[in-house]
Symmetry: C2
Subunit: 354 residues, 2 copies
């Protein structure tokens, strides 16, 4: 690989002039010198060594992205959007890590990012404990947290970009209620996850507005210790039995995310429960693949592209201006109606017999 010295030699100038060209300081060079240097750079196919540059400047155009698992299409899409924004708007490249929602892995990744000189990171974490995030901040990382709203007040050290999960839960319940459902259930994996709390609150709030004849239950899937995002559909599949065993059985189900819903629908069909004739399902995320399930999955979609843009912008801004205070950003979800929701079977009966 050619170095700045080779270029300087070929162009017959000093290395500092080459450096000035590299950094676009047009005003410091005569047009003639400038183009002579450019020519030399072209000829040698010279690309500056980032390690050297970083060693000098202290930063490097890389952004860390930590997601639970890119095998979950939700995070695959997120990675795509984040990468696109980072690349096209800031010329930053993406360092990707799958954390499996494991605190150790997250912490190790932070360590590595730091040692690579990366100063901006976006993390999708659902861990209750944000202490390791704050450690990372203390050591110089600008951290943006996805979908973990900060209303627990504590930490103004980390940016939070999230969907309005309360509203998401509210919308999902609202949609089912509009179709006449009265016995609703909200499905979540057991254990840790956090943003689901608000989703459940919104869901419950909407149901409780209808009075005592409406019910809102929360069903937790049984998950093993090592439960990962790739097993979400399997869990949904298994939870179909839990739902089917409920007495009375709910007629409208909301799941905390789309992959769970996809598994659930499959499991329900396996039990000869038809969606939406016997039971309606609403997912959350707005995965593009949800448009192609059978039936199409109604889902509360998050504005992923906008959120990705904001996250990238914040992470990079705060990494370059460490004095910028952390902030929270809330995005509004929107329900996408497809075919997985219909009138509840009871309502049909009720119409003729009550």
């Amino acid at each position: 690989m050619a170095t700045i010295h080779d270029v300087a030699a070929l162009a017959g100038v000093s290395t500092s002039s080459v450096s000035n060209v590299l950094n676009g300081r047009t005003e410091k060079l005569s047009a003639a010198t400038y183009s002579r240097v450019e020519e030399a750079i072209r000829k040698l196919a010279f690309r500056p060594n980032r390690a050297a540059r970083q060693l000098k400047t202290g930063h490097t155009p890389m952004l860390g992205l930590l997601v639970p698992s890119t095998a979950n299409p939700m995070y695959g899409q997120l990675a795509l959007n984040v990468e696109a924004a980072a690349q096209s708007r800031f010329n930053y490249r993406l360092l990707l890590g799958n954390t499996h929602r494991d605190k150790q892995q997250e912490a190790r990744m932070f360590e590595d990012l730091l040692s690579f000189g990366v100063r901006a990171v976006i993390i999708v974490s659902s861990l209750n404990d944000e202490r390791h995030l704050e450690d990372a901040v203390a050591r110089g990382l600008a951290v943006v947290s996805y979908d973990r709203s900060a209303n627990d007040g504590s930490h103004s050290l980390v940016d939070h970009v999230s969907a309005d999960n309360y509203q998401a839960g509210y919308l999902a319940a609202d949609h089912l209620i509009a179709y006449g459902h009265r016995r609703l259930a909200f499905l979540v994996p057991g254990g840790k996850t956090l943003s689901r709390g608000e989703k459940i609150d919104g869901f419950r709030e909407r149901v409780s507005r209808e009075g005592p004849r409406y019910s809102a239950s929360v069903v937790e899937g049984r998950v093993s210790e090592a439960f990962g995002d790739s097993e979400l559909p399997d869990l949904g599949f298994a939870m179909a039995s839990q739902v089917a065993a409920m007495r009375p059985m709910p007629t409208g189900i909301v799941t905390v995310n789309d992959m769970l819903a996809i598994g659930l629908m499959s499991g329900l069909q396996q039990l000869n429960l038809r969606v939406p004739d016997d039971i309606s399902v609403v997912g959350m995320d707005g995965l593009s693949v949800a448009a192609f399930t059978n039936p199409g999955l109604t889902s509360v979609a998050m504005p992923l592209t906008e959120m990705a843009g904001t996250m990238v912008e914040r992470a990079i801004a705060r990494s370059t201006q460490p004095d910028l205070p952390a902030a929270d950003f809330l995005f509004q979800p929107a329900l996408i109606a497809r075919q997985s929701v219909a009138k509840p079977p009871r309502a049909k009966k009720a119409a003729s017999s009550t």
Copy 2:
């Protein structure tokens, strides 16, 4: 951030001793010194600066991964597997790029990798033209190409890790034929893709063995210039009409990948064609989500984890030992039977009328 000097000072030794500890050269230090240095490292939470190290050694523990789009769950899974192998077996981190199968983007990413000091890269490309890959190799990258078999002979510069696509096509056709199908079709997006050639060959070969009463057609989807992997399901959906318009209509369809199949099934159902009663579908990839479609999608699965492991191993091995010759690795696919394949409707009639 603490530097090696701070550690040396605190431990009361020279920087080279610290360096030796960092690089685990136990034999060069007394046990006492060693642990004193370790202690100092711990106390200062010292992490060596990779940029400095890289500047010195010329390499950095990073691996590039270029995929068309992580929004395609196939590549999301691939990224997960590659990252896991790189991380757990080599302590390498992953630099991810979405190329949208665009040559410019691929070339730019190569440039960037080079300038970041990354010497090992795995690429999923379907571009006919491998010249930019060879350019990259010439400039010092160890390139491993996924699923682009090299039997065009030309390039021994790039490693090729691929599934036996001929066999995949063969297996898919074989499965349909075993169920009694005679009119088969193979669906692909229009334009570029490459590995599909062998899939089609295997598919055709299997069908032609049955003689003239069997037919194998290839259907190309109409795609725009900017067609991307995220639109695969949409394309499949649209292609359902193309299939439905064929006279005679095929009863068994194979698609070049699962996302296309998922869209196709949805489109067929939209046209009131039932899968598998009216028409059977076989996908390719073995996406985990294909187990949860309705009906479950029969698919020819590629051994993704093993392939990812091999790719990582090769990329890193060849980046550290540039004299290692490039090689090709072929993996055997396996058909996963689910519910999207059944006897053809004609065969049922035939059974009673012939």
